[in-house]
């Protein structure tokens, strides 16, 4: 009895990963809802409207975009990542074979899956938006440029959306872990963010521009991956010594 085979971290983590994929599958409805709402908003009026004219004619242009869907999906992954660190979700692992590292690894695995799913679906909702527009609007009014989406652009959009979601999930996860260390972080984190954005606008902006203005995909990918590894790594280190509270 005492000489049971030693368990290895990876097989336990992957078992937990599968468990969590099933267990947390209801989180998906949140994404579905967020995307449908965003789609609805996007269809409603478009993101901008321009109109002008002279005595004989008036011309107006409605601009549409599926970006809102992606942004809503970003919010979803942020909340999902924070949620995974809550007591309520941690308790679900008590009946399982687990330790802090396997818990974190399987959480990260789940989040990566959610990012891939979210990235693909949010970009594809853009396709849905185009098809809805195709059938509801007068086709002779649709400007074909960018309405006809290059397939390579679609793949590009999906991979960039996934990368952004990975980054955001890392931010959310670390935030969640920090707030578990001390509830003080619930106040500190927003205060610091607002403080930095107010007092050191340029630092804050260059931090954002570090990602948003990067126009080389490989470099962007590298930046996101390294930053995410840092975010998740710090999260693992912090939560490693933490006791399972009930």
């Amino acid at each position: 009895m005492m000489s049971l085979k030693e368990v290895d971290l990876l097989s336990i983590s992957s078992k937990q990963y599968v468990y969590k994929l099933k267990a947390y599958s209801t989180l998906f409805y949140g994404l579905l809802l967020a995307q449908i709402i965003a789609l609805f908003f996007s269809l409603l009026n478009g993101i901008s409207y321009m109109s002008s004219g002279n005595g004989e004619l008036s011309v107006s242009v409605n601009t549409y975009s599926a970006s809102l869907v992606i942004i809503f999906s970003f919010f979803w992954i942020l909340f999902a990542a924070i949620q995974l660190t809550t007591k309520q979700y941690k308790q679900l692992e008590n009946p399982l074979v687990t330790n802090s590292i396997s818990r974190n690894l399987s959480n990260i695995g789940f989040l990566m899956t959610a990012c891939v799913f979210g990235g693909i679906t949010s970009s594809l909702v853009g396709v849905l938006l185009r098809i809805i527009m195709y059938f509801t609007f007068d086709r002779s009014q649709i400007i074909s440029d960018e309405f006809i989406l290059a397939f390579s652009d679609l793949l590009l959009g999906i991979s960039v959306a996934i990368l952004y979601m990975v980054l955001i999930s890392g931010i959310g996860y670390l935030t969640g872990v920090l707030t578990k260390v001390s509830m003080a972080f619930v106040i500190i984190i927003p205060a610091v963010i607002i403080g930095i954005s107010k007092a050191y606008t340029d630092i804050f902006q260059s931090l954002i521009k570090f990602f948003t203005l990067e126009s080389s995909l490989p470099l962007f990918g590298l930046k996101v991956i390294i930053t995410s590894i840092l975010l998740f790594g710090v999260s693992i280190l912090i939560s490693n010594r933490e006791e399972v509270s009930q």
Partner: protein, 238 residues
Amino acid sequence: MSRVLPQILLFLIGIAIVFIFKSKSPKFFRFSSWKLSVLVAGLYLGVLIMLVPILYMLPNKDFVKIVENKDQAIASSSNLMNNLYNQHFPTEGDLDKLEGIYKNSDQTFKLDSSKLSFDLQPGTENYHVLIERKELDDGEIDVSTYVTAQYVGEVNFTKRLLPPAISVDNGMLSLRAPDRQTFEFKQFNIDFTMAQFNNQNSSIHEMSPHFANQIIFIRVPQSLEINRGVSGDRIQII
């Protein structure tokens, strides 16, 4: 700022909805079995993926296409207008060759009088009327209408402008502008995720309009007597 505000509002609404959804998840969402959730998620993804080939199969011949060179078309249009002001009148053959300038209509009227007077109705103040005498007296008046480049953003919709209504009756040529026309366009911006690496600005495209001028080109028989009347300053005889 006024443009950003409604979007921020939208995000806040979105967050609120996500939060309400999380805290008061309806029974269906909370107790939906994982098998059902995975099935719904799979179907959702499947349907979205199926949409991709459908999008590429949709015929797009009706769309507004951007093929022409806007700068050149606008340059030649304004060039033409400058020439008109400077009394450098083109021939009809010249007009046909100019880029960005389209012939709107082409009509021929039997002449029932030896004189021609004009009735330029309100709304035609911006029309340039050019009269050219033909080399022979065939008793017919040929009227062609031209329109210079008309753009909104990159979209050239010159060809969609309706020509003015023209009629010749008892030696009177009347010119009536078409009813007020409205043009609506739907533009699509690619997702910011694509734009970032596409050398495209994801911000809203510049959609400033460039309005067109109408040119009425009238060819009359050699010996016709022309009475330019009250609005004579808008009628130029080449």
